[in-house]
């Protein structure tokens, strides 16, 4: 936990009330009370937006007030030095590798635009990436003449991790420079075999860019151990920080046990402190950085200090509760939801890989309608989601994605579980969904 003294180095007028030392053993029902959520609402859409704990909201409000109209120097705290160190520690990385940014989209855009790509280079990615990834790669393609080679990941309950790795490998050519993929796909909730894909990239000397929007707050993960070069994350989804916050991991030193490749050439776009004449020193080849890449990326003029502080507080709360404990809870609820969905809709209704435990995430995409053609009827899914929200106060979302060998764009209902959900909520939600699907079928 960050102490008041530590926090004050970043935010000079602290006032945060630590939440006490009991969260590690608090019941999930008690933890639910930390969140600004109505008791009669069932929030199963954390993959789109999380719910802020009251305390995070309070930090945001308080720091906003403290800085409004003040004449303090806004630039040092905008570097978020302490926050980055603390947050980085939770994810197994150092302050020079961690950036607090506006969201996963901004993070991944700065990565993609900052890669040293040239005409003729190739990127392998998937058609199931977030649009912000695909649009940024298309921008670079238009600008520099890249080739983007696209994998459409298989979907369905029986997909195996080896199949996904093989599909990526088939797209790699001597011109491939980058492997880019989501750690967990937002459309089908596939937990991609991250380490295996990074090792594939290492074997071919490729840069790895991971859209990790859904990771923080869900998984107790070591970003460095993934072996990726870049991981861009959301601060407002499972991490439950304020909207407009994100985290960006940029590999800035070489730990051969995780990633033996040299650091890639990378241009830290949008930077105040990148040298104004000359260049930074050569990138390190050891486990000690030659310069602080995180500072280059973090220094971007003034910042929303309150949001940064609030995100830091959300991360502290997670550390207090225990990230290992949260992951176990989220996954257990996810498996419970998966079982209930299979019970009501059948195994084949799942788009999310389910039999291979390596690919399971607590985001579960499924088709609630028995008629095959409803799988490509956007109106059915939009109505389904709208009515759950309006008539039952159950929040999920629908997603759209390609399915290999199908000429149609498929749609799915997607729910995700988080630490504030309960088994009772899942029971009520799935039962309600089953009844509504019958009515709409």
């Amino acid at each position: 936990m960050v102490s008041r003294t530590q926090l004050s180095r970043t935010v000079p007028t602290p006032g945060t009330q630590p939440s006490g030392g009991g969260l590690r053993t608090a019941s999930w029902d008690e933890i639910r009370d930390l969140f600004a959520l109505d008791r009669d609402s069932i929030h199963l859409n954390t993959g789109t937006v999380g719910a802020m704990p009251y305390e995070v909201l309070e930090v945001n409000d308080r720091v906003t007030r403290e800085w409004t109209g003040g004449l303090m120097n806004v630039y040092p705290p905008a570097m978020y030095t302490e926050h980055r160190a603390n947050i980085g520690r939770a994810f197994g990385v150092d302050e020079d590798e961690m950036v607090i940014c506006h969201n996963a989209t901004e993070g991944v855009a700065r990565v993609i635009q900052g890669l040293d790509l040239k005409s003729g280079d190739e990127v392998v990615t998937t058609s199931h990436e977030c649009y912000s990834v695909l649009s940024n790669f298309n921008l670079v393609r238009n600008r520099h003449g890249l080739t983007i080679r696209m994998v459409t990941p298989p979907s369905g309950p029986d997909v195996r991790a080896e199949e996904i790795v093989r599909l990526f490998e088939e797209q790699i050519t001597p011109r491939t420079k980058v492997l880019a993929f989501a750690a967990i796909t937002l459309f089908t909730g596939t937990m991609m075999p991250v380490r295996a894909l990074c090792e594939l990239a290492h074997r071919h000397g490729l840069i790895t860019v991971i859209d990790g929007a859904l990771i923080p707050g869900m998984l107790d993960c070591d970003l460095r151990a993934y072996g990726a070069d870049f991981v861009s994350c959301s601060g407002s989804k499972f991490q439950c920080g304020p909207l407009g916050t994100g985290l960006l991991y940029v590999r800035n030193k070489v730990h051969p046990e995780h990633n033996p490749l040299p650091l890639p050439t990378f241009w830290p776009l949008i930077s105040t402190w990148y040298p104004m004449i000359g260049a930074p020193p050569p990138r390190t080849t050891t486990s000690v950085e030659s310069y602080n890449m995180g500072d280059y990326l973090q220094s971007a003029g003034s910042a929303n200090i309150a949001k940064g502080a609030a995100l830091a507080r959300a991360c502290e709360l997670w550390d207090e509760i225990g990230r290992d404990r949260i992951e176990a809870r989220v996954r257990e609820l996810g498996e419970y939801a998966r079982d209930r969905l299979v019970e009501h809709f059948g195994w084949d209704a799942l788009y999310s890989p389910s039999s291979d435990p390596r690919l399971r995430s607590p985001l579960i995409a499924f088709n609630p309608f028995p008629a095959p053609e409803d799988a490509w009827n956007i109106k059915k899914f939009a109505t389904f989601v709208d009515r759950l929200e309006q008539e039952h106060r159950i929040w999920i979302r629908w997603t759209e994605f390609d399915v290999p060998h199908s000429p149609h764009q498929h749609y799915a209902a997607r729910l995700c579980t988080h630490l504030f959900n309960s088994h009772g909520e899942i029971d009520r939600a799935v039962t309600t969904m089953a009844a509504l699907a019958r009515e709409l079928s």
């Binding site: 058609s127 199931h128 990436e129 649009y131 695909l134 393609r141 238009n142 003449g145 080739t147 983007i148 696209m150 459409t152 490509w376 009827n377 956007i378 109106k379 759209e400 994605f401 390609d402 000429p407 149609h408 764009q409």
Partner: protein
């Protein structure tokens, strides 16, 4: 609106163009597109924008559709092969009782394009783009092979077969699935031929006179009187609701079109003396200095005219020999044709054609990269001798019977004569020319060896295929490739270009190869590139007239107004 304008009045058009067919399913760059805009609607269309260099002048906007599908509005998947289109509410057919235009009407409109008696040139764009439409098209042709089939045969096929990639989810929403991403799909679905069709059309053969007599409207006007080949009168459609139509207005009591073959001078006089308001189907500029200046816009030129060889009828005759076709290419003096065009009063900017794709369009080559403009009868004669065709070569050229087209025909005929070729010219009216060309095909000569045609960009961005696909692939009878040119190599290159939308370099290289290959094969002779520079002639009482690139720079009749009589002579619009 100007102070002197009013709502009402009868707009009078006069000129030589055909009125028929009224059926949008046959629409193919004809003057009638200007009229059809008043009673037909597509998913998308173009807004009238005064300055053609404004992007909005060539960017499709929703028409029947509530919005242009995008990833942002969940209408377009990430792979760009699935479009979801929601229809705007409140658009009605003028049926009794009035009935909403549905997604099923849009699907019907697309199916009707494949009717063997329809098949406008755009069909090939769509069949190569929409999933399963090529198979539907082929099956339709096989099931209803006889153009004289009764209406039931057409309706039966359409109502028992589907285009796999086009389906209505319900009355308000349809899905269009593509075989590959196509950045021009929305433009294709703004083409006049893609108009929605009511179920009542099932009772008639597409394009027939019977259908013309039972035309239904979902636009601001509807057909009130129609004398085939002579006159068409449009009057307000009582169920049209301006709130359901974001691009059209209705400022007139009626639109009256009179077919008049009195020639450019006669039509001009009619307009100048107030007997008519606008020319119909003849390009007349309000002013036309010589030499023609550069156009005042940056949009693509048209290929206008070109001469297509009737390769289907060539058999093993001289025209089957590419050396002969090259010789004829060398003979024609394009500069002389350019002078005729510049002096014609059409108000166009004119360039000698040295390629297939005109300047300003995607895939256009750098000027001067193409072959010499010709006009060398001695060289042509030598080439004909090399090919063993230096004596007795007789050719029949069919061409539009307009004054300018005829003058040009005499010019290139004289050039060919100088090279030792005997030429017979047949000037035909639009319907006759269309009939002759549509009747062509393998083994059917229809009595022509060369046909003078023109082809314009049907849309203005991402439009490389607007020329190279219909002109260079074996398409539809009566289309811009009536001579039946087509080779597997070219087809493969066209396909490669269409497949390479995500790789602009590869796409551009493929289109470039298509053009090179076709120019080398000489299936037609590009003669001139033209594009309007001057506003079209209009009568003194015409106000708020906006030339629309999508209508060949004709005025948008849906938004123009008429001045009050007493103001008209003093304040020309």
């Amino acid at each position: 609106m100007n102070d002197d304008t009013r709502s009402g009045g009868t707009l009078r058009l006069r000129g030589p163009a055909d009125l028929e067919p009224l059926d949008a399913a046959l629409a193919q760059q004809s003057p009638a597109d200007q009229l059809r805009r008043l009673w037909t609607r597509q998913l998308f269309t173009y807004a009238p924008v005064e300055n053609p260099d404004q992007w909005q002048a060539v960017e499709p906007v929703p028409d029947l559709a509530a919005a242009v599908p995008s990833t942002y509005n969940a209408g377009l998947g990430a792979s760009h092969t699935s479009y979801v289109v929601h229809l705007r509410p409140g658009v009605l057919w003028d049926t009794e009782p009035a009935r909403a235009v549905t997604a099923h009407d849009v699907v019907r409109g697309l199916k009707r394009l494949c009717a063997p008696v329809a098949r406008p040139a755009a069909t090939s764009h769509l069949t190569s783009t929409i999933r399963g439409m090529a198979g539907f098209d082929a099956a339709y042709a096989a099931a209803v092979p006889d153009p004289a089939s009764d209406a039931q045969a057409f309706a039966d096929f359409q109502n028992t077969h589907d285009i796999p990639g086009v389906f209505a989810l319900d009355d308000e929403t349809l899905v269009i699935e593509l075989v590959r991403p196509a950045l021009d799909l929305v433009d294709l679905l703004a083409l006049p031929c893609t108009a929605a069709a009511p179920v009542e059309y099932d009772a008639f053969v597409p394009g027939s006179g019977e259908l013309s007599a039972h035309t239904r409207s979902n636009g601001p006007y509807r057909v009130a009187a129609h004398e085939p080949g002579a006159r068409l009168r449009l009057e307000p459609n009582p169920v049209w609701n301006p709130e359901s139509d974001p691009v059209r207005a209705r400022n007139l009591d009626a639109v009256e079109v009179t077919v008049d073959h009195s020639g450019a001078a006669g039509i001009t006089e009619s307009i100048l003396n107030g007997d008519a308001d606008l020319p119909w189907g003849i390009e007349l500029a309000g002013s036309h200095p010589l030499p023609a200046p550069e156009p005042g816009h940056r949009l693509g030129y048209s290929l206008d005219p070109y001469l297509a060889f009737n390769l289907d009828a060539a058999g093993d005759g001289p025209l089957s020999d590419v050396r002969v076709r090259r010789a004829l290419d060398r003979a024609i003096d394009r500069r002389a044709l350019a002078e005729i065009a510049a002096a014609s009063g059409a108000g166009t900017s004119v360039r000698v054609a040295d390629a297939i794709v005109p300047p300003g369009n995607d895939a256009a080559r750098e000027p001067g990269a193409g072959p010499a403009p010709g006009g060398d009868p001695a060289a042509a004669r030598a080439l004909l001798a090399e090919a063993g065709a230096d004596s007795g070569l007789e050719l029949t050229v069919v061409h539009p019977a307009g004054e300018t087209e005829t003058a040009m025909a005499h010019s290139y005929a004289a050039d060919l004569e100088k090279a030792g070729v005997s030429v017979t010219l047949r000037g035909l009216g639009p319907s006759s020319l269309r009939r002759v060309l549509a009747g062509s095909g393998p083994g059917r000569s229809q009595g022509w060896d060369l046909a003078a045609l023109s082809w314009s960009p049907s849309w203005f961005h991402e439009n490389a295929r607007a020329f190279l696909q219909p002109l260079c692939s074996r398409g539809v009878p009566g289309g811009p490739n009536p001579g039946g040119y087509g080779t597997p190599e070219v087809d493969e290159l066209v396909d490669r270009a269409l497949r390479s939308v995500e790789d602009p370099e590869r796409r551009d290289a493929a289109w470039s190869e298509v053009e090179e290959l076709v120019l080398d094969d000489v299936p037609f002779l590009p003669l001139l590139f033209q594009t309007p520079w001057a506003p079209r002639l209009r009568g003194t009482r015409v106000r708020d007239a906006v030339a629309m690139p999508s209508l060949g720079f004709s005025y948008d009749l849906a938004t123009l107004r008429l001045a009050a009589e007493e103001e008209s002579l003093e304040n020309p619009g």
